[in-house]
Amino acid sequence: MNIHEYQAKELLRQAGVPVQPGEVAATPSEAEAIAARFGTAVVIKAQVHAGGRGKAGGVKLAKTPAEARAHAERILGMSIKGLVVSHVLVAQAADIASESYVGIIVDRVSKRPVVMASPAGGIDIEEVAATTPNRIRRVAVDPRYGLQPFEAMQLAFFLYHDVRRARAAARILRQLYDAFIASGASLAEINPLVSTPTGELVAVDAKISIDDNELERHPELAALRDETAEAPSETDARKANLTFIKLEGNVGCVVNGAGLAMATMDLVKYYGGEPANFLDIGGSSNPEKVVNALRIITSDAQVRVILFNIFGGITRTDDVANGIVTAIRQHPLRVPIVIRLTGTNEQEAVRILASAGLSAVTDMDEAVRAAVALVGAESVS
C-alpha cells in the first residue's frame, strides 16, 4: 500500500528525521492560508500515487500566498496518470546546497533490507542505478542486528565528506531504518535529502510503501489508505478479498490461484486474445467471492467474454458453480461465459451448472480457445 508524501513525512518526523515543514490543503484558500502562515516561499505539491508529478505540472514554487492559491487552484482537480489530485502539500521551500538520495527496500536476493545512498539526489534511483551505478552505495542489513551505526556512517561518508553532515546523515539513515521496520514498509525513501547552505540536512520529499501483509498489525497505518488514489474496481476487489488487476483487453478471467491466473492470461494471448484482467479468487473460495468477482469483471464495459478457469483443490468446484449460478440469477450476463472446472467435487459442480443451463469443460486449453473464439466471432459479427 502506498501512502502519500505528507503521510510518509509524518512517519519520518515521528522517527526523528528533520523534515521540510509543510501542511496539507484540500482547497486553494487552505493553501493560501498555510503559505501566509509560513511567511516564506512555498512549494505546492500534488499528493498522488504516481511518479513524474513534477513533469506533469503537479509541483510548483509559490513566492506569495496569492501565488500559492493560484497554483493550488490549478493543481487540485488535475489528473496525473489517471489519478485526480484531491490534496496538495504546501511545504516551506528549502535552500538547497546539494541533494542526496537515501532509501531502503527489501532485497529478495540477499533476503535482507538493503539501505541505499547516492549523492545523485532528486533523480529516479532506478535511473541512477542504470546509468551511473558507481554513484549508489548499498548495505544489506542483517535484520538480526539492525542497521548498525558503523554501517550508517559508511553510507553517510559516501554522501558527505565533512563529519558533521556525515553524522547527521547517519542519524537520518538509522531513523529511516527504524521507521521502515516499525511501519512494516517494503520501501522507504527520502529523495531528495537536501543539504542547506548552512549544512543542515532536511527531507524534502519522501515515499513509503507499506507491505499489505503488515496492515493487520498496523491498523493506524491501514487507516492512511486513500481510496481516491486507487482504481475503483481494484478497491472493490480488495474489499471483497480478491486480487484483481485491470488490463486493457476484453477477455475477463476468473481463476483460482495466481500462477494459474497468469498462465490463463498468457494462454488467452497465445491464442490471439487479450486478457481484460488478472483475477485470483484465492484458495478457499466461497460462492460469495465468485459473485463479487463476476460483478467486478462485468462492470468493465470492454469485457466481451468471461472465462472461468478453476482447478479444484482446496477450492471446491461446486462452491464456484453455486457462485456462478447465484450471480447470473441476480444479474443476467450481457456477455457469453466459458467455464472450465476440474477437481474437487467436479461432478456436483457440473450438475449445478447444468441445472442453470450452463455447461463446463475440463480442459484448460480448450476453454481458453473457446473464449478467444467467442470474442473473435463477436467482433466479426
Partner: protein, 304 residues
C-alpha cells in the same frame, strides 16, 4: 525414492484444530501420511479425531512444538496458522529441532521472513514456503494441500513457485503417464526458505528421478539462477514453464513475489536464461508434456 519426504516422515501439524489445519490433516491422513502430532496452544492433552472414515488413530495434540517433538519424535512440521503468527510457528519448529518445516500460510509480512530465514538456517533446518502448497511423494505421503488424486508415482520430479498451476501440470503429467517422485511447491513469496536450486540439487541426487519439470513465474531471478545451476551441475533433463508473459510491470500478480521490477523479473528474461541453459520452456502448459516426452525419450535412447 523421493526428495525431502518419504516413509520415514513423521508429521506434526501446527494449527491442527484450525479450519484449514483440520481439513488438510484429514486429507493427509487419508493419503496415508503418518501424522503423529498436532499443536494448538491450550489444547494440549486433547486428541484430533481424523473422522469416522479414518483408519488412523486420533492424533495427540500438544501445547508446544517442543512437547510434541519430545513425545512423538515428529521430524517434519506443516504449518496452517494465520499469517501474523506464522513466523513464530516456523521459528518454534526450528528451535525444537525439526529438520523440515513446510509453511502453507499465505500473507507473511516480508520483514518477518527476513528474520525467519536466518533463524531457520541458524538452526540447521529447511523451510519450504511460506505461501506454498507443500509437497507430495505420490503413493507414500503428502505434506500440505496438493490434491493426492492428481498425482501418481513415477520418475518425474516437479518443482514450482505456484499452487493451482502446479496442480494443472501435475494433472497433465499424470494423465500423460508421467508419474512423479516428488512434487514440491516452493511458494510465491519474494523470500522463501527453499529455492529452485535446492530442489534441483535434491532431484539430481535422487536415484529414482529421471527428469525434472520446473514451473516458474515472473519476479526475481530464481529461475535465472536455477538455469545457470542446471547448465553447470545437472545431468538429468529439465523442462520448464514460466507464467506471466502478459503481466504488466510494477504490478503484483497475486503472489507477493510475482512482480516485474524495472526490467528484471520478466518472463522473457527467464525463458531466455532457461533456453540458453538447455532447459526447453513450453509456451503453453500442454507443451511441457511434449517437451518432456522428447527429452526423456532422447535421454532414454542415449542411455540405451
Amino acid at each position: 525414492m523421493s526428495i525431502f519426504i518419504d516413509r520415514t516422515t513423521r508429521l506434526l501439524v501446527q494449527g491442527i484444530t484450525g479450519r484449514d489445519g483440520s481439513f488438510h490433516t484429514r486429507q493427509m491422513l487419508e493419503y496415508g501420511t503418518a501424522v503423529v502430532a498436532g499443536v494448538t496452544p491450550g489444547k494440549g492433552g486433547q486428541a484430533f479425531d481424523a473422522g469416522p472414515a479414518a483408519t488412523a488413530p486420533p492424533v495427540p495434540i500438544f501445547n508446544t512444538v517442543a512437547d510434541a517433538v519430545e513425545e512423538t519424535g515428529a521430524n517434519v512440521s506443516v504449518i496452517y496458522v494465520p499469517p501474523v503468527f506464522a513466523a513464530d510457528a516456523i521459528m518454534e519448529a526450528a528451535a525444537a529441532g525439526i529438520p523440515l518445516i513446510v509453511c502453507i500460510t499465505e500473507g507473511l509480512p516480508v520483514l518477518d521472513m527476513t528474520r525467519v530465514y536466518p533463524f531457520v538456517r541458524d538452526h540447521g533446518a529447511r523451510l519450504i514456503g511460506p505461501n506454498c502448497p507443500g509437497l507430495i511423494t505420490p503413493g507414500v505421503c503428502k505434506v500440505g494441500i496438493i490434491p493426492g488424486r492428481i498425482c501418481a508415482p513415477g520418475p518425474i520430479g516437479l518443482v514450482s513457485r505456484s499452487g493451482t498451476l502446479t496442480y494443472e501440470l501435475v494433472d497433465q503429467l499424470t494423465r500423460a503417464g508421467f508419474g512423479q517422485t516428488t512434487c514440491v511447491g516452493i511458494g510465491g513469496d519474494p523470500i522463501n526458505g527453499t529455492n529452485f536450486i535446492d530442489c534441483l540439487a535434491a532431484f539430481e541426487a535422487d536415484t529414482a528421478t529421471t527428469a525434472v519439470v520446473m514451473i516458474g513465474e515472473i519476479g526475481g531471478t530464481d529461475e535465472q539462477d536455477a538455469a545457470r545451476y542446471v547448465s553447470l551441475h545437472m545431468s538429468k533433463p529439465v523442462v520448464g514453464f514460466i507464467a506471466g508473459r502478459t503481466a504488466p510491470p510494477g504490478r503484483r500478480m497475486g503472489h507477493a513475489g510475482a512482480i516485474i521490477s524495472g526490467a528484471t523479473g520478466t518472463a522473457a528474461e527467464k525463458v531466455h536464461a532457461m533456453v540458453e541453459a538447455g532447459i526447453p520452456v513450453g509456451d503453453r502448459p500442454v507443451d511441457v508434456i511434449t517437451l518432456l516426452r522428447e527429452r526423456v525419450a532422447a535421454v532414454g535412447s542415449a542411455v540405451g
